[in-house]
């Protein structure tokens, strides 16, 4: 269909669409058009605002109903939402860096991270690439990095329930070279479906979460670049939809211990 004609047709339907009063096939056409037409998005937003004013509170929200909602927020036995786990991880419940076995360094700012409420997530410039294998396989390059004198080795471990539970197991290693080049070496991360990917995160001491890139659904050794890790308090890996996300939406499958500067 001609684009301008399509716009007019869709625009005519926006009122009905805002009230959920169109048929399914029309809804699909409208939604496709909304992806590329800010004008229609703006009009739809206005219609919805008006509609939202038409229905009233009538009465206060019921306390009994709130109890039922609250009961569904963290069903017993289910893993807690990602942020809670990350905070708990950063609070020092997790193992030390494997490269520094000398003493358990309790990082003093750790507690502060959990307290910081800022959750504005910046997706910093991320460079990800599978290794060029002209000379060696990614695995070999990662192994070489591992033997390099300045390399830091960070174990990424599973997390059990926040309180008690099974002991953490190392499922991947993060090898970081002084240059900021780094490799994620997978040991036991299970393959994901084609529609999902692992994603590496840095947890800043200020409370922000920074994506360090997608690791793919069957990671072996993957090269990543940690542009600036001076503010990173810990690392985490989550399983996400294939395109990746700007903010972790799932409980991490693996996290590191607190990192020192």
């Amino acid at each position: 269909m001609d684009r301008a004609v399509n716009h007019e047709n869709v625009a005519e339907l926006l009122g009905a669409y805002a009230l959920d009063a169109v048929d399914a096939d029309e809804a699909a056409t409208i939604e496709a058009h909304l992806n590329e037409c800010p004008r229609c998005v703006a009009e739809l937003t206005q219609h919805r605002e008006v509609a939202a004013l038409l229905a009233n509170a009538g009465s206060d929200a019921s306390a009994e109903l709130w109890d039922r909602i609250a009961a569904r927020l963290a069903p017993p036995g289910n893993p807690p939402p990602a942020a809670v786990v990350l905070d708990a991880a950063l609070a020092g419940a997790l193992p030390r860096r494997v490269s520094e076995r000398r003493r358990r360094a309790r990082w003093s700012a750790v507690g502060a991270i959990g307290a910081v409420a800022a959750a504005v997530i910046a997706l910093l410039a991320v460079q990800v690439g599978r290794l060029d294998n002209r000379l060696t396989t990614p695995d070999q390059q990662a192994q070489a990095a591992l033997r390099s004198p300045g390399a830091d080795l960070v174990a990424l471990k599973t997390i059990g329930p926040v309180t008690g539970g099974s002991a953490p197991t190392t499922v991947a290693d993060l090898v970081i070279l002084p240059s900021g080049s780094a490799y994620v070496i997978n040991h036991r991360l299970p393959d994901l479906g084609a529609d999902r990917t692992y994603q590496l995160w840095g947890l800043e001491r200020g409370g922000r979460t920074v994506s360090f890139g997608l690791l793919g659904n069957k990671p072996g050794a993957v090269a990543v670049t940690l542009a600036d890790r001076s503010s990173i308090g810990a690392y985490a890996v989550t399983a996400e939809p294939a395109g990746g996300v700007v903010r972790p939406s799932h409980t991490p499958v693996a996290v590191s211990g607190p990192q020192r500067v």
């Binding site: 009063a21 605002e49 008006v50 509609a51 229905a55 509170a57 206060d60 929200a61 709130w66 939402p81």
Partner: protein, 222 residues
């Protein structure tokens, strides 16, 4: 009944306050959220801070429930929709984009869409026509009784009253009756295109009227 709306503001605890008022052990956070913007509340939710969700529920839970009940005509189903809407906000707070309007609009849009889905899935076992007759008979008096806040209720009512009757009827049958515009057209014996246009022009007119009457349509919390 003392809802959280009252309870959270009112220091006198009701009999169920210890369980019904989440986060009472965290009074500082509660105070913060009571004056927080939509975005602030959603940040709190993203940090898994339950009092933030409680505040969202306190502000909008009543409206969400009322809307779902209006569409579904069942308090039980409305309970279900309300729970889904808030649990979903808890699990997926990033779906709310503060740049795209108020939290209230977001929640009401979700609630309406979910209610209509339920209604349409129930259509087979309901006697749709029966409901429809009732709907048509009662269309025309409802919107004015459903303004979300006493402070703006009169202004919304004025705006609604100024709306041409045919636009108002089409909007009511679609929004509160859960009918598609095609169904509305067939019920009213009007051309589909006419009903489609009336809904759109009615909503535009309502917006202009609300602005005229001093209703902030893109209202956000203080």
């Amino acid at each position: 009944m003392t809802g959280p709306g009252r309870g959270l503001k009112d220091p006198s605890p009701g009999p169920t306050s210890s369980t019904a008022l989440p986060g009472t052990e965290d009074p500082v956070a509660m105070l913060d959220y009571q004056t927080a913007t939509d975005a602030g509340i959603v940040v709190g939710i993203a940090r898994c801070h339950e009092p933030a969700l409680a505040e969202a529920y306190r502000r909008h839970g009543g409206s969400v429930h009322t809307l779902a009940r209006r569409v579904l005509r069942s308090a039980t189903l409305a309970d279900e929709v309300t729970q889904e809407v808030f649990v979903e906000l808890w699990r997926d707070p990033e779906r709310f984009d503060p740049g795209r309007g108020a939290l209230r609009t977001f929640l009401m849009t979700k609630a309406h869409s979910r209610a209509v889905d339920l209604l349409r899935s129930e259509a087979a076992r309901r006697t749709r026509e029966e409901r429809t007759v009732r709907e048509t008979a009662t269309a025309g008096y409802d919107i004015e009784h459903h303004a979300w806040d006493l402070a703006v209720a009169d202004r919304v009512k004025e705006a609604v009253n100024t709306l041409p009757a045919d636009e108002r009827t089409a909007i009511e049958m679609a929004y509160f009756g859960g009918h598609t515009y095609r169904e509305v057209a067939s019920l009213l014996g009007e051309p589909e295109g006419t009903v489609k246009s009336r809904i759109r022009s009615g909503l535009r007119r309502l917006r202009a009227l609300m602005v005229q009457h001093g209703v902030e349509t893109a209202w956000t919390e203080p």
